[in-house]
């Protein structure tokens, strides 16, 4: 059972370039999330989705876009990459957000913008 799979694991981008971080889950989870983790900081929510076709902003959405065309996939798009977007990005999913339902995380994508 693969769980949550993120690609790529590492990427270096030049300022102004764009890229898409891929995330897919095979657990048939309704909810999916994108977080970023900066050095010495906790994870911050960028965007989330409660189901196919539905997305919403989290705590730090600026500079990012998402889409959710299927239950399985939740790609994160960076347009015009900036050094401030250098971070480790984690995708997560959960079956529901009721009490006692934890999120399952992918392995992360380490992005450096130079």
């Amino acid at each position: 059972n693969a769980g949550v799979t993120q690609t790529p694991k590492f990427r270096i981008l030049k300022i102004g370039q764009s890229m898409t971080l891929q995330c897919t889950q095979d657990m048939n989870h309704n909810y999916m999330y994108w977080y970023r983790q900066d050095p010495g900081m906790g994870l911050k929510l960028i965007y989330y989705s409660v189901g196919a076709g539905i997305t919403d902003k989290g705590e730090v959405p600026n500079g990012y876009n998402v889409s959710r065309s299927t239950t399985e996939d939740f790609p994160l798009r960076l347009e015009l990459a900036a050094p401030s977007q250098t971070s480790v990005y984690f995708c997560a999913s959960s079956y529901s957000t009721g009490a006692n339902t934890e999120a399952f995380f992918g392995q992360g994508t380490r992005l450096t913008v130079v």
């Binding site: 949550v4 909810y31 977080y35 010495g40 900081m41 906790g42 994870l43 911050k44 929510l45 989330y48 409660v50 919403d56 989290g58 705590e59 984690f90 997560a92 957000t97 009721g98 009490a99 006692n100 934890e102 999120a103 399952f104 995380f105 992918g106 392995q107 992360g108």
Partner: protein, 111 residues
Amino acid sequence: DQQVKQNSPSLSVQEGRISILNCDYTNSMFDYFLWYKKYPAEGPTFLISISSIKDKNEDGRFTVFLNKSAKHLSLHIVPSQPGDSAVYFCAARINNNDMRFGAGTRLTVKP
């Protein structure tokens, strides 16, 4: 604003002893608290959680205590094992879709 704080960036304990990881929060609207464990080059994995209406939850060697009046929770690991060495994140949920994380505490358990 950092609503969830883990003030100790690191903790070192001897194998077999108790590990106590602490977490403070500022928002009284948090309804659920969770602990995640993270190994290098892996994503966080869920460890244990507690509802805001309870003050203790136990799962094997792991116990989480919640003190609402002090806005403080702690994770106790007894006995600690070398395999417990990891970064531990405290997280608090404010609504169904918004979870705030602390900066993490790196636990090292020495054999």
